[in-house]
């Protein structure tokens, strides 16, 4: 499946302060959206290590640090930053239009399907 699927209007850009994350639940899946520079990057809000809420993590450049045990993930690729802790989290395409952050719905579907598989 491509990323052409439906884009969901999630929130006004102001709801996410710079260098912080905020969580939205879409179809039962928690997605953490981060405000990095002037971009909004979305990943699954669940650390593959012990399920920590990544949206509550401290942002360092374009990586986020899980608040529970300090695992680090790249917000653009979803890959773990440290090679010694291989893992990844789902990422979701985003775009901003007229001050509204959109997340791509098909991306969410696919991630959910993957999680179910």
């Amino acid at each position: 499946m491509t990323n052409e699927g439906r884009w969901i209007a999630v929130t006004n850009v102001e709801s996410i302060p710079p260098r912080e994350g905020r969580v939205v639940t879409l179809e039962g899946a928690e997605i953490a959206i981060f405000h990095v520079d002037s971009r909004y990057l979305a990943i699954a809000n669940k650390c593959p290590h012990k399920g920590g809420p990544l949206g509550d993590g401290i942002v360092s450049g374009t990586t986020v640090v899980c608040p529970l045990h300090g695992r680090r993930f790249d917000l653009e690729t979803g890959m773990a930053v440290r090679a010694s802790e291989p893992a990844c989290v789902a990422t979701f395409p985003t775009r901003v239009e007229n001050g509204i952050v959109f997340v791509n719905f098909s991306g969410i579907r696919r991630a959910l399907d993957e999680a179910a598989a």
Binding site: I8, T11, S15, R22, G51, G52, S60, L68, A83
Partner: protein, 803 residues
């Protein structure tokens, strides 16, 4: 009659040679000429002065007292114009004549100014002397478009200094590799990335064809035709020996004044030392060989000839915090028989390359990790056969016994390249002065007072030599921001920085991480007494939502119960909250509080409102609680009202942040039921007095608290506790508990700086505490007035996805 020794040049090479002469039996009356008006200062630290990390005073090596007490006739600001070798006199700019029996030329070098049209324009500077530095400081201001021509050691250091001052800096380099004399292309690429990460633009290879502007420089034009705007241009294109005086006197001069292995010029009564010299075809631009030359010359000129000067392998280290670069020896790999061994880790920014010939080290390049620098330098110096080390050559094993590594070093090895301090001198000084701390070592020997890169080695040496080594820990926070807490406090205060972003943008990697961001948040809050610019994104989640995150992402809520005293009404409200929010666990904590566990983030504001109690700060590095016993109120043994004293102590300090959590206790008698002697601060009631104890612990470490003072009244005891509290806030490293802090500083020092400090100092401490306290608020007030609308709640999507 005494012999007249005249030294032309008051820089590091000349004066360090004079220092060596003074250590030997001699018969000289010494005159030093210096064309700068300053006493001898550490020229290689000028970049730190430019960056504001040192003051001009702090880089002085020899003050006026030194010249006076050694009866040196000092002629500062006087340029020597000529030498008459027949009459054995020097003639200065004022026409004054000074006779000599022996003459030392230590005229140093000057900035090489390439023949580019326009270099004479205003606002084009060089960076070579203290006056140059001052001129640059005067010119620099935030946003100033600054171009540094030259991407060598000095150019990069100047660029960093100016950028720290807020200038918008671009480095323009002629070659396609930065520091190409010390690095290969790969090393240069790593360096370039590191420099760019600091926020400095790098353009290469770029040949500057002209500087344009009407009288004042407006920009550069490159040979390619491109132009670059510039309000300030710094030329750091290399140095050239100041050999004119030697030339004019008819001495042998090639690129520099030619000297033999004992630093003698072609005239047996004239010697030369330092960057003005040329020895076996080599000229010098780095400091270490100059000290060596000074020693050789001092021996030779006093008639105690020692070892000859045999040249020096070039060694260079970049003095930019966080950009670790070391290079030594020959990095030419095209030489027949040279093999290279290398490794790199792009993610960590580490690159190491060794050049070997016949199993002996010829050269080394270290980027990002220079810890083993001394091992390699020693291998270079000694020409050790590395056959047995080949398998570990890139990662020489670090000895578990720190003494071994330093024991293996010869006494003659230079430990501190900035100040030319050798191992033997340090060991002697340690014994002679009974040195036990790094600080004392610095004061007595000047070792590690320069760029600081030999600090680790000095510490190892100190540990190995003195049985009573005492740590004065100065560890850096993390690689984002390679400064110690102490340096950061200086930087924040000195540069008036108010936000985490500012500090990271100017002094760090602009990103920060989970280590330095909370630390900086604390330092800013403490230093500006709450008047900083708070940035919640730099706080750990606990300090964004004022509750303690649990393993499932829910939070625990601990309301403040001062002194562990509560009321039936509070207990009823707690019970109601537990019911209403279906709190999975209600627990009495070890610190006499009640913990409600398993609260959802979104419920926090309502929970706090329903509780109607202030935050117990159980989630943060701050004032946790004061645990008390019932004291005189009910206990038949109590001799002091510990409950009331504990509640008052908690009231005075609550809502304040600290380097690490602070747990306190107050007990009404020495039976110590509330365990005050294992708390960070404890009040121990006695008949007619209180013992104020500090630095106790009963967690990961167990430590009995030290007695700070015995106070006669409760008020005095509370004041002593407050003095210690603020002193800890201001002086501890971030995440340093009081028990480590007290051990590090020693209780005697702490007493001197708190309870025994002059009244004025005490008042200042208390004043800063009060100002912070006045700004500190109950964090749970944010439940009703969140700092942003989504502080506690999830985002509600603007549209509901339909399948």
């Amino acid at each position: 009659m005494k012999q007249q020794l005249v030294v032309v040049g008051n820089g590091m090479a000349g004066v360090s040679c004079v220092e060596q002469i003074l250590k030997q039996p001699h018969d000289f009356e010494i005159t030093i000429f210096g064309d700068e008006t300053h006493v001898n200062y550490n020229r290689i630290l000028l970049s730190l002065v430019l960056a504001g990390e040192r003051s001009a005073d702090e880089i002085i090596l020899n003050d006026f007292d030194w010249y006076q007490s050694n009866q040196i006739c000092t002629r500062l600001g006087v340029k020597v114009k000529g030498i008459d070798r027949v009459r054995k006199i020097v003639v200065d700019q004022n026409g004054g004549v000074t006779e000599y029996d022996k003459l030392i030329l230590a005229t140093g070098s000057s900035a090489f100014i390439p023949p580019i049209p326009g270099v004479e324009k205003k606002n084009v500077h060089v960076f070579r002397t203290l006056d140059d530095t001052r001129a640059l400081l005067e010119r620099s201001r935030p946003g100033l478009k600054t171009v540094v021509i030259g991407g060598g050691l000095l150019g990069l250091e100047a660029a960093r200094g100016l950028q720290v001052r807020g200038c918008d800096v671009t480095v323009v380099h002629l070659m396609d590799t930065l520091m190409e004399r010390q690095l290969d292309a790969t090393g240069g690429a790593y360096l370039k990335r590191k420099i760019e990460n600091l926020g400095i633009r790098v353009m290469l290879p770029k040949q500057t064809a002209a500087l344009f502007g009407n009288g004042r420089v407006d920009g550069l034009r490159f040979a390619s035709g491109e132009e670059l705007e510039a309000d300030l241009v710094v030329i750091a294109a290399g140095i050239r020996p100041n050999a004119e005086l030697g030339c004019q006197a008819g001495l042998d001069v090639h690129r520099g004044i030619v000297v033999d292995d004992f630093m003698q010029t072609s005239d047996p009564d004239i010697f030369a030392v330092g960057e003005c010299t040329e020895h076996r075809g080599q000229t010098f631009g780095l400091v270490a060989p100059l000290f060596e030359q000074g020693r050789v010359l001092a021996s030779a000129i006093t008639g105690n000839p020692g070892p000859a000067f045999v040249g020096a392998a070039p060694a260079a280290k970049l003095k930019i915090m966080g950009v670790d670069i070391f290079s030594a020896g020959s990095i030419d790999e095209s030489e027949p028989g040279v093999e290279t061994v290398s490794c790199e880790d792009p993610a960590l920014g580490i690159y190491k390359k060794l050049l070997l010939k016949d199993n002996r080290l010829r050269g080394v390049i270290l980027v990002g990790d220079i810890e083993d620098e001394h091992v390699y330098q020693e291998w270079l110096r000694s020409g050790t056969d590395l056959t047995p080390h080949r398998r570990q050559i890139l990662f020489p094993p670090r000895d578990a016994d720190p003494g071994r590594e330093v024991a293996a070093m010869p006494d003659s090895e230079t430990i501190c390249g900035c100040n030319g301090v050798r191992k033997g001198e340090i060991v002697q000084a340690i014994h002679k002065h009974g040195i036990v701390t790094l600080q004392q070592l610095k004061e007595k020997t000047r070792a590690s007072t320069g760029c600081g890169t030999c600090t680790g080695l000095c510490e190892k040496l100190l540990r190995a030599v003195t049985p009573d080594f005492q740590e004065d820990t100065k560890t850096t926070l993390c690689s984002c921001l390679p400064f110690s807490c102490e340096q950061l406090r200086e930087i924040i205060r000195g540069q008036q920085l108010k936000s985490v972003e500012e500090v990271l943008n100017i002094y760090g990697n602009r990103k920060g991480c989970e280590v330095c961001k909370p630390a900086l948040s604390y330092l800013l809050d403490m230093l500006w007494c709450g008047g900083h610019q708070e940035d919640r994104s730099a706080r750990f989640i606990n300090d964004r939502v004022h509750a303690n995150i649990q393993k499932d992402g829910t939070f625990s809520v601990v309301p403040r119960m001062r002194g562990g005293v509560t009321t039936p009404d509070e207990l009823r409200r707690i019970a109601d909250v537990a019911d209403k929010y279906k709190v999975p666990m209600v627990k009495v904590t070890g610190s006499q509080r009640i913990d409600l566990l398993g609260i959802k983030k979104a419920d926090l504001p309502n929970v706090w409102a329903d509780l109607g109690m202030p935050s117990g700060q159980a989630y943060t590095k701050g004032v946790r609680m004061v645990k008390t016993c019932v004291g005189t109120e009910f206990c038949r043994f109590g001799v002091q009202d510990s409950t009331r004293a504990g509640i008052e102590l908690e009231r005075r300090l609550e809502n304040l942040f600290t380097p690490h959590k602070v747990k306190m206790g107050a007990v009404g008698c020495p039976r110590n039921c509330a365990e005050a002697t294992v708390k960070d601060i404890g009040l121990v009631g006695q008949d007619g007095s209180w013992q104020v104890v500090v630095g106790g612990a009963a967690g990961k470490s167990v430590r009995r608290a030290d007695l700070l003072i015995t106070a006669e009244t409760t008020e005095q005891a509370l004041e002593a506790a407050c003095l210690f509290f603020q002193h800890y806030r201001e002086n501890a490293n971030y995440l340093e508990r009081t028990y480590d802090f007290v051990e590090r500083l020693g209780i005697e020092k702490i007493r001197k700086e708190t309870v025994y400090a002059p009244e004025e100092e005490k008042n200042k401490l208390l004043d800063r505490l009060n100002r912070s306290k006045a700004m500190a608020k109950d964090a749970w007030l944010e439940g009703a007035r969140p700092v942003n609308p989504t502080q506690f709640v999830q985002i509600q999507p603007l549209e509901v996805p339909t399948a």
